[in-house]
Symmetry: D3
């Protein structure tokens, strides 16, 4: 019972949104350009730990995977890797959903992904950098900004708002002692204390995620590397 | 609905266990020795963010708080501080419960608390160090070991098993790239790969928790500072 | 006079090679896929320092630029940025040419580019990471390896030879004291002392280049971001 | 042909200047005080790599070495060590000459040497610290300032101009992201943007040189250790 | 002779003061609560080096030990450990006495202990953190402040005066270059230059002590862990 | 009384030894070559704190200063600077004398000075590096080794014994946790545990001294910079 409820809990936001994306053709187009790559090489090793067969997984997790796969075009490896521990899988994605798919507050979806990119490169997390750079490219329609942030957010083409947002996210990422000055710097560019919580909670959640990715040697799907890099070819979009 | 289910999800383990402790008189005795301290000072400021009145909180969260308070003798401030965001509260404690109250695997409860202490001091997290040092003292019945680990786990009175466990936890805490050598070092003292996941997941979860505590300036309850330091006075235990 | 000679000095290798690439259609194809991007935005700002008009530059430098542009499809911004100081421009490219276009020794062109990528990300150098990741993709025909090395060369898909090569390059990059043990680690995977010099000299040269890029806030050409990411469309290749 | 031209290119500045120094008796005096030291020990090992016999070197390199040796009293080991790779030797010294012997801009020769000393000690480069401390003593006529900078430039006897110059050089040396604030700090003490380029280019070039010295275990000539420490004995100068 | 004089030199302050404490019942009460703990385990190993029998020690050192033990209720292990080198023992405690038991200047005894706690945790020194946290609790009557400083003095419950004092102590502890700005920050909260010397000298002395404790693996007496944590039970105090 | 005894305590070793040096003409020769330098500039500022007039100092301190000055040719500034606090002066030099002028154990006087040089440069202490480099040159008769250690002890011309000695001293200097492995590395080159204590105690004492020098901005006497650099001119020695 619990598992079904958990599954419901985070389903609306993440996947409705992926579905929405698909209707607008973005992920589909991106996948169209790269999908054949994933069939060329032998099946990728995605984790240092065993990845369960779907027939061995609880039904709520399988249903969730199928929904994600159907809507997004492929199943991000984080779902496969974490399904090794179903109970932790549910808690992880419930939390993820709260933070990344929240519909309120001052952060755009692109902002949230940029926070993930900036903090995950600090933590040298291959999976999160590659996957969330892709999501940032799609949400922001800026095909090079995440690459710039990966190298050095301090000289990336960011406005003062985004710069202040990442400065705060990095303070949390480094586990600095947070002081009133941090909040004031955010307020100067229009972020209130609830936005600060959002920024920090994302940085904190990915502090955990990055470490789980290191534990499992989680590998990004090949699809992520190129997703969102090219302007959509309109003829393919029909 | 969902909230009730989540609440159920993590209730059995954390709180049944606290109740069990109480039956054996440990927490009760510890609280007995220190409870009056908490009434002396003016009400402590526990968070930089507002702490909701219970009447404003969802019923599942209130029920959980009351259960914890009744069984443990006081409500740890992390419950108050995180209730500022009920949805995140539920995800946080569901995850916490999976990791810290798991009944299987090679880690004892004292082991888990020691991992929290060692990684949280690296992150300079006041709440987690003070609260989980208290829990370690109670579970381990070793009243000085957590203080030693707080200062320097490298020369604390640890056996090779605990030392290897903390070496690995610290590698995760620092976000080192995890390699086969890390797993081999664990295997030499009897930890298998599932134990490695447990150790790493706790270190990863508290990488998040420590950062949330810094965000909110979460303050430990006064009760935690002294809990488990003194041998129980048997006359009080009746 | 001197300038003409210098110009001759480094022309054969760099540009003959770029020409060769073009004959095999690689750069041309890559450029074909991305060139229109560079016409969309307003003219990019490429340097914090003024970039001279070509009519104001010495003839040897202009000739070199035109040759590069004709053969490669676009002029990499490093040529524009460094032409602010023609004499230093000549010395820089003469040295670059010696190290990167050398026809002897145990390093492939892809190896050299990988060294640049791995050391330049350590130095957070946007220009060098983006430009040399592109060159690595083209030379290696591995479209994702440079992205992996950008995030974390320690868990990138490298064989022992490449791993040892980058370990040594990083030791030089960090300015570690180099010892016999470094050379032995290289010898174990087949690199002799002349290869060690090549690896170290590239790492050392880009220690300089990265810092010049930081000085000038050198921006990568948009073409570089996507170059070599997609398999060539054979129909375009004819 | 090319080699002759390169040789001409950098000859005027470095060596004319060394000659000029000699006419004014400085280097000669310094060498007079120390030269006999170099004959006492067995021939010094100057490099981890073979140093070619002059008869095996290209004529332009030999001519250059002889000119330097004649004018300066001894051949600095960097010429011997880098002659292992004649083509790189030419590029290195051409670049060196552009940066260190430039006749224009706001930096004195002593300023340039001080930049080299401050950045090279950060990089723990024995050759560059010892050799360029000697050159600084000669150019500045300050026999103890370079020793102070070697220990700690932050409390050396520097005026605000030199302090700002070294602050910027160290930012480049550490590969910090350079911002407008760096340029403003320089402007406050009278350095314009072209001076900033000069400072940064020297710091960047020695970022390379220091690493080549570590690669080769380049040892300073004994003459450098004491050169310029003592006031010239006028009776010897005639 | 010399030894007797040295012994006299530092006896008045340290031990008179411990005696005074005892009269007011503080240490006695603290020891009363914990003394039986030290008899439970087998005799503690207190040093990696041999601890001499008292019969083998010079009489001045034995007399000092007996005085300390009589007045304080137990002999702190630092006396045992350092008696391995009697001459250094005398110099160490003479210096200690000058710094920690000085009767003049703007630092309270609690201030001095807090400096020791804050700098010793930076140096991961088990003995000094545990012993001086105990002394801080007794002198300050604040039972939790030292625990807070051990975790993170930046968010401990400190006023601006104590915060500035620890900021300066930490600058000395880290061996930062001390500048006029450091003194100005102290003056803003009322510390003059003689107070600055006191703060710095304590931080410097414990830079030495912490390292001696690491050398010898000096272990704190069990009594220190709990001393001063609980409010005195008045009935026991009679 | 006490002060006289303390003064006697450390007088025999330090100053007898300086006197012995003088008889052999070393310091005298060194001073002869440089003394006139100190009269050229205006009186040096030696401390950020006031330096007392000798007439205001306790007689035991004045006598000590005069003895040092007479025998060594000049008074090292550390005596002037620390006399600002006579009681701490006595404790400091008593301790210094025990460690640096000890007549037993496996460390030569040159070894001790080399430990001071290597650790003091890590701490960026101008006074200690310059003064103890001079003393090392005199004791070791190696005029360039201390300069090499100042830049980088890892590639200085050290044998395995000296290298292991400095490795251990640096571990203490950095406040590493000392383990059995450290002692084993020392034993492999012939140092026993008492030698280990000597090495560590010197490193620890200068951890304190370096910080006091930073506090006071202690400046080295000009005489130290050149002392021991040149072979003695035998004609002057008569």
């Amino acid at each position: 019972m619990a598992t079904q409820v958990i599954s419901k809990l985070f389903r609306p936001a993440v996947f409705t949104q992926l579905a929405a994306l698909r209707l607008r053709g973005k992920v589909a187009a991106a996948a169209a350009g790269t999908r054949h790559l994933s069939s060329d090489p032998p099946p990728e090793k995605v984790s240092r730990y065993p990845v369960p067969y779907r027939t061995d997984l609880p039904v709520d997790i399988v249903e969730l995977m199928e929904e994600v796969e159907t809507k997004g075009g492929f199943l991000p490896n984080v779902f496969k890797v974490l399904s090794h521990r179903p109970a932790e899988f549910r808690a992880f994605f419930a939390y993820y959903n709260e933070l990344m798919n929240k519909e309120t507050g001052g952060l755009t979806k692109a902002d949230r992904e940029l926070i993930v990119v900036a903090t995950s490169i600090h933590n040298k997390c291959l999976y999160c950098v590659v996957a969330h750079s892709a999501l940032h490219r799609i949400y922001s329609k800026k095909p090079t900004l995440s690459d710039q942030v990966v190298v050095n957010y301090e000289n990336a083409e960011l406005g003062p708002r985004e710069r202040a947002m990442l400065d705060f996210a990095m303070a949390v990422c480094r586990c600095d002692t947070i002081t009133e000055q941090h909040f004031q710097a955010l307020e100067e560019v229009g972020f209130d204390r609830e936005d600060a919580w959002d920024i920090a909670a994302i940085a904190a959640f990915f502090a955990m995620s990055n470490r789980l990715a290191h534990l499992t040697d989680m590998r990004p799907n090949l699809e992520f590397y190129n997703m969102g890099r090219l302007p959509r070819d309109k003829s393919k979009d029909k």
